[in-house]
């Protein structure tokens, strides 16, 4: 009897207490932020832009899409002294409790990135709703502007960015950086920080690679019309490079591939080089990592590094009629590829040493590995030594496959 009574009381107490849980939140009452943007204002306050999901629109069928029925997200910006105070301010107009529980992306505006993010970095890691899996992008211009984008193939802009970054594995043209990676580099003296650089995309200007001049060609007929409020289109333009807490420059897409190769994040990419026997034509390869890149540090008066890179190249296109599919020609070709890649890698390392003076490749880690104690490492002052370090690159390229055909096609004349 006593046991039954005890059990009944326990069940009642637990049922009642579970019902009145202090932390109960109804899904319908939450304004789920999908992406967050931070811009610095002149008075050193920040403008926080939140991309809040509209579940009914995000869940709509593909035929509705983001364009015909409007975007699947609500964009709202608030100027505030801190990120979280901006949420309070947002809740003066948004009738759902703004929360970061589902936040997947963080955009940092150019002004803030150049000014230095140290004042706001703690905001990102201390608050429990912020997850370290959050993807980070540095924006060229205002984050709030770029967040106006509406992806055409995905209803959810945050998902769009997530997928976009994943594609990097296929091209190596931009680094995937989440808050965890960012913080790990931020707090170490072994490697400077970097993050993908996002910029506005104007398709008509970008189709040709070095698009200088002719910016308004072909649009004159429409010039008088009041500018249509088109959603912004964006693209990743490479990598923003940090020194300490501020952005000091950027690497373009091809330079970023080098960064990815040295930091062992590179998987595969297509590479087009001038034909070594006929500079007017080109040869295209599919480049894949054969072995992880090895960096060897030698302690000398000036720190010396040897970078060994192993790549496999598969021929995917030969514009010329020269037959490169013989062992001798393959050997010749692989030396040419190795030489071209070596030149690219050396150029980017030199750029990091002279233009940025920032060790984004993590050479510092190799120096630290040779130390016995952390005190020795801190005394070494690596960031100051990096610009003067000697780096030699050994490129090992192997041509393993030539596609599904040997000799290139030839017209019979």
């Amino acid at each position: 009897m006593g046991k039954k009574l005890f059990l009944t009381i326990v069940l009642i107490v637990f049922t009642i207490s579970a019902e009145g849980c202090w932390d109960r939140k109804e899904l319908e009452s939450m304004g789920l932020i999908q992406a967050l943007g931070l811009d610095l204002e002149e008075d050193k306050q920040i403008t926080v832009t939140a991309m809040i999901a509209i579940p009914s629109k995000l869940g709509a069928t593909a035929e509705g899409g983001g364009s015909s029925e409007g975007p699947g997200v609500l964009l709202i910006s608030m100027k505030a002294p801190s990120i979280y105070e901006a949420f309070n301010l947002m809740n003066t107009t948004v009738n759902l409790e703004v929360t970061l529980l589902q936040n997947q992306v963080l955009f940092i505006g150019e002004d803030m990135a150049k000014f230095g993010i140290s004042r706001w970095i703690d905001n990102l890691i201390r608050f429990r709703e912020m997850r370290r899996t959050l993807l980070i992008f540095i924006c060229k211009g205002k984050a709030a502007n770029l967040m106006k984008m509406q992806p055409k193939l995905d209803l959810n802009p945050a998902e769009h960015f997530r997928d976009l970054v994943m594609i990097s594995k296929r091209s190596g043209m931009f680094p995937m950086t989440n808050l965890h990676d960012f913080m790990r580099r931020y707090e170490s003296l072994t490697q400077e920080n970097y993050a993908p650089l996002l910029t506005e995309f104007k398709p008509q200007e970008i189709t040709e690679e070095p698009s200088q001049g002719g910016e308004s060609s072909g649009d004159e007929g429409e010039a008088k019309k009041p500018e249509e409020k088109k959603p912004v289109e964006i693209r990743i333009a490479g990598t923003a490079v940090f020194k300490g807490d501020r952005v000091v420059g950027h690497l373009d897409l091809y330079e970023t591939q080098v960064l990815q190769i040295i930091t062992n994040r590179f998987r595969e990419a297509f590479l087009t080089l001038p034909d070594p026997l006929d500079k007017n034509t080109k040869i295209a390869f599919r480049l894949t990592t054969a072995k992880p890149t090895r960096i060897k540090f030698t302690q000398k008066e000036i720190p010396h590094f040897t970078v060994d890179v192993w790549m496999e190249a598969s021929i995917v296109s030969i514009q010329n009629v020269i037959d490169y599919t013989t062992p001798a020609m393959e050997n010749f070709l692989r030396q040419k590829i190795a030489s071209a890649l070596k030149h690219r890698i050396e150029k980017v390392i030199h750029k990091a040493q002279t233009d940025f003076q920032a060790d984004i490749f993590g050479f510092g880690q190799k120096v630290r590995n040779t130390m016995l104690t952390t005190t020795d490492w801190e005394r070494y002052r690596w960031p100051k030594k990096f610009p003067k370090a000697n780096v030699s690159v050994n490129m090992h390229v192997y041509i393993r496959r030539v596609g599904v055909q040997f000799q290139p096609p030839k017209t019979q004349k």
Partner: protein, 376 residues
């Protein structure tokens, strides 16, 4: 009538007996449950990249310290450490030792209660009052203590494999973020600093002293010292591995700033689009670890108190002790103060209790034996 009473007493006594596996799991949980709190962070703070080495070395030193407890328990089978101290040092000194043990268990229980309650508030229940979180823990502690050590060890044995699996899964799934180079420089802050902190932090494994309290209740008395040894070795492996995993995932500078590194580690776990936000699962296991850990220490508190004052039935003390523990747990004004108190202030004295008193008793026992041999 008399015969029936004796039979009942015997049955009760048998009911309170525990198996060696159950005891081992309880001890491992007691010694490794702290990895869910700030322990990995504290180690990174003390040893930088060699934080894991501090755990390993303190474990090795603890094994040396444990030798004295093990030989006492072997020498006096059927007696617990409190009874051994009374039989070796007499009533007054023995009672003093029992009170010291009581204060030790009381301090650990209170600080653990506060830290676990705070950890749940910080990570998953930000709006729940601390008293409510504590109430649920205390409810379990009281219930566990009333049911006795057998229930506690059985619960530990039941959840043990799942907790171990959780550790393995956490470590395994965090590997994509791991970089072994982050354990270099191998000596962290230097060999002397490492040695110093390893010696001062053998308190990491001081919960092994509970073996001294539950030893007479273990069914296979010949396995008592092995239970302690194996549980210590297992706890050393778990604590070292978890600390090393945290260090290679976050690097030492970040680790030394994380309040609950394991929680952050579980929040990192993602496997494509499918497995995300796994901390929701880990929180359950975390809760059970906390409950088992505190249950064991609470049992030690009540038993040592009843021994100190010659109370044969400890059960009526349970509610009073729960209130005392709850009250003390609220003494520190903040979470930071609690962590500081537990990791760097009070814990300094734990080794004196857990390894110092057994050493002292072992010396007294040797001297007494020597005296008997000389006189005899």
């Amino acid at each position: 009538m008399h015969q029936t009473g004796t039979k009942e007493m015997m049955m009760m006594k048998n009911d309170m007996m525990i198996g060696h596996r159950e005891a081992l799991t309880l001890l491992v949980t007691l010694m490794s449950g702290q990895v869910f709190l700030s322990m990995p962070r504290n180690m990174a703070l003390l040893g930088d990249t060699a934080g894991w080495l501090i755990v390993l070395l303190s474990g090795i030193f603890s094994l040396i310290g444990y030798y004295f407890l093990a030989s006492l328990l072997k020498e006096y089978p059927g007696l617990d450490i409190l009874q051994i101290s009374q039989s070796l040092c007499g009533k007054y000194l023995g009672t003093l030792f029992s009170i010291i043990f009581f204060l030790f268990f009381l301090s650990i229980s209170s600080l653990m209660l506060r830290q676990f309650a705070e950890s749940f508030i910080i990570s998953i229940l930000p709006n729940t009052p601390i008293s409510i979180v504590c109430f649920f823990f205390l409810f379990l502690l009281v219930y566990g203590a009333i049911q006795g050590i057998e229930t506690l060890t059985r619960v530990a044995w039941f959840f043990g494999p799942y907790l171990l699996l959780a550790f393995i899964v956490t470590i395994g799934f965090s590997m994509p973020y791991a970089d072994l180079q982050l354990l270099l420089p191998i000596l962290g802050k230097g060999p002397l600093t490492l040695l110093k902190h390893s010696v001062f932090h053998i308190s990491l494994f001081s919960n092994v002293i509970l073996l001294g309290v539950i030893a007479p209740k273990i069914r296979e008395q010949d396995k008592v010292s092995r239970i302690g040894l194996y549980s210590l070795i297992l706890a050393i492996v778990i604590n070292t591995l978890v600390t090393a995993t945290v260090l290679i995932t976050f690097n030492y500078t970040s680790t030394s700033k994380l309040v609950f590194p394991i929680f952050q580690l579980t929040r990192l776990i993602t496997l494509g689009e499918f497995i995300q936000r796994t901390e929701a699962i880990f929180v359950f296991l975390w809760f059970f670890t906390a409950a088992i850990l505190m249950g064991g220490m609470f049992y030690g508190t009540v038993i040592s108190f009843s021994h100190s004052f010659g109370i044969t039935n400890y059960r009526p003390l349970v509610f009073a002790m729960a209130i005392l523990i709850f009250t003390i747990s609220l003494f520190p004004s903040s979470m930071t103060e609690t962590v500081d108190l537990d990791a760097f202030i009070v814990s300094k004295y734990y080794p004196l209790v857990t390894f110092g008193i057994p050493l002292l008793l072992w010396i007294v026992s040797r001297l007494k034996k020597k005296g008997i041999n000389t006189n005899g």
